[in-house]
């Protein structure tokens, strides 16, 4: 039964439908406009208060103001020095991220091949997992000096455990029924791994890899805070020691931009690789 056959005055029905749809669209548009205006107004209010109000409440030396910070950002960009720092930090984080996630994946798959092996090593992994990794930063500096190596290792370490734990969990949560059926149907170990285990663990793996990007950047930053001669963490730490609050905030703005850009990139990638997954992970 079609609408046309049931309703003799098709024209009127269509008009009503169209006007409802238009009203609906207008309402969502209005709602979106309110939200947009509200969001913009909120942001502007914060900036205005920071620029003109905050300095009267607390010593402006402590909070700087948006105009000064923006000027400082432009200045840093013009000097070109900032590009070097950003490049160093991104390089360290990216290398650490690649190393950490590769090792995490590899060791989780290796260990998951033997149930006994996993059972034996589990308490050690829990123990290592609960080491506050930042406490190792001074040790890495003792071992590897002030260069980029300790930063890469710290970033890799922060990434490693998250990827490892999530991959191992993903592998162990594969439905045993699926594995049994496939084995009965004559699948080899390789088939099982490639066609059952990997696809069903993929969402957890992809999601964990995604959240670890931020951690890689944090690892690099933290090591740079502890001791370094270049990088965004160095920039912020030095400015903080010199009581140059505008530069500190400028650095934080850049850091936030880098993190958001990396997150956005990875989210796009995740949508491509595991579109069916919302992204629920164990930290």
């Amino acid at each position: 039964m079609t609408v046309a056959a049931a309703a003799p005055d098709t024209g009127r029905a269509a008009a009503v439908l169209a006007s409802t749809a238009a009203a609906d669209r207008r309402r969502t548009q209005a709602e979106r406009a309110v939200l947009w205006a509200g969001t913009a107004a909120f942001g502007v209010a914060i900036l205005l208060f920071w620029q003109f109000g905050l300095g009267h409440l607390v010593n402006p030396r402590y909070v700087s103001d948006p105009a000064t910070i923006a000027a400082r950002l432009v200045e840093l960009a013009a000097e070109g020095e900032i590009l070097r720092h950003v490049g160093v930090t991104i390089g360290e984080a990216a290398l650490g991220f690649v190393i950490g996630s590769t090792l995490g994946l590899a060791s989780a798959f290796a260990l998951a091949q033997t149930r006994r092996g996993y059972a034996v090593f589990e308490p050690f992994l829990v123990g290592f997992y609960s080491i506050p990794k930042i406490a190792l930063a001074p040790l890495f500096i003792l071992w590897f000096g002030l260069g980029t190596a300790p930063k890469i290792i710290m970033a890799a370490l922060l990434v490693y455990f998250v990827v490892f734990v999530n991959t191992a969990t993903g592998i162990r949560e594969v439905q045993p029924g699926l594995l049994q059926v496939c084995r009965v149907l004559g699948a080899s170990r390789r088939d099982l791994l490639l066609k059952v285990t990997l696809p069903s663990a993929a969402p957890a793996i992809v999601a964990s890899v995604r959240i670890t990007v931020t951690r890689a950047i944090e690892g690099a930053l933290l090591s740079e805070f502890v001791a370094s001669t270049q990088g965004l963490g160095y920039l912020v730490a030095r400015a903080s020691r010199e009581f140059d609050i505008a530069t500190v905030f400028a650095g934080i703005v850049i850091i936030a931009a880098v993190v958001m850009a990396a997150n956005g990139l990875l989210r796009l990638l995740q949508a491509r690789l595991a579109p069916w997954h919302g992204g629920r992970i164990h930290g």
């Binding site: 909120f42 034996v120 001074p138 040790l139 933290l222 903080s240």
Partner: protein, 285 residues
């Protein structure tokens, strides 16, 4: 169909199977214990022997040197002095961060439009690595206890905030509609529907954030301080004492492990909501 009494022969078989089963399980447990102990012993002995012979002990120290440092710290009271500072800062930060998060998230989650207006700003603030805020807090509040408490609170705040909002937003709207039709007041709705359904999310966040608070406090101490386990570790590194650094790491790990154990009952309390899984921002750094 009535259960038949098993024949004496059947009983014997049953008993034998059970015994076999139990024996297998004990054997398995013994194997695990032996394997784990073996690994620990081999690692410790290997470390002790290799240090100073294969590798310079400056780099890897040795188990005995670490134990010595620990004993020294304990007898001189340093461990307690610094440990108490760090744990206090972490705990205060934990309480401050989670209370502030719940108090801000709760009203915001009830006002949908207000939340959607504020959301982008929270997301931006959330994407600033908490570590990066460390120097700012140190600048503002000096090198005492306050900045450590605040950094710990900052580490905790966003995780609890995001989960509280999520908790309030996932309340099934059907339940709200039904209770409203049945004449529930706003307060009754809050008490009987909203809070019980959001609570698991808040609890789940509270369970994972105590270690995060600890890490926040240590981060603060790393950046600048004159007290606390983070300071102790860093001071050891500054004087090139690898044993001291490793002893500090060991102490911190044990504290974090204990905190996780302490909060485990919270996880059991959440058994009835297995779908609550706080992944986002569960940052045990």
């Amino acid at each position: 169909m009535t259960a038949r009494e098993p024949t004496p022969g059947g009983m014997a078989v049953l008993d034998a199977t059970r015994r076999e089963h139990r024996a297998a399980r004990t054997a398995q447990r013994r194997f695990l214990l032996a394997a784990r102990l073996g690994i620990v012993v081999v690692a410790l002995v290997g470390w002790e022997l290799a240090s100073g012979t294969l590798i310079r002990s400056f780099y890897v120290s040795s188990p005995s040197a670490i134990a010595e440092t620990l004993v020294e710290w304990i007898t001189s009271g340093e461990l307690f002095y610094h440990g108490a500072f760090t744990v206090t800062a972490a705990f205060l930060g934990y309480v401050l961060g989670s209370v502030a998060a719940v108090l801000i998230a709760w009203p915001l989650a009830m006002l949908r439009t207000a939340y959607r207006i504020a959301e982008p700003y929270f997301l931006v603030a959330y994407s600033i690595p908490a570590v990066a805020m460390g120097p700012v807090f140190i600048l503002w509040f000096g090198i005492g206890m306050t900045p450590k408490v605040l950094i710990a609170a900052y580490f905790v705040f966003f995780i609890v905030f995001i989960n509280t909002v999520a908790g309030f937003q996932q309340v099934p709207s059907g339940l709200l509609d039904v209770t409203r039709v049945m004449g529930a007041s706003r307060r009754a709705q809050l008490r009987t529907v909203l809070l019980p359904s959001a609570l698991p999310f808040v609890l789940a966040a509270l369970r994972i954030t105590l270690p995060a608070a600890m890490i926040g406090a240590v981060t603060g101490e790393f950046i600048s301080s004159n007290r606390g386990l983070g300071y102790l570790t860093r001071a050891a590194a500054a004087s090139y004492s690898t044993a001291g650094v490793l002893a500090g790491v060991l102490c911190l790990s044990v504290i974090v492990l204990l905190m996780n154990l302490l909060l485990r009952p919270l996880g059991h309390a959440l058994r009835w909501r297995p779908d609550v899984d706080v992944g986002h921002g569960a940052e045990v750094r």
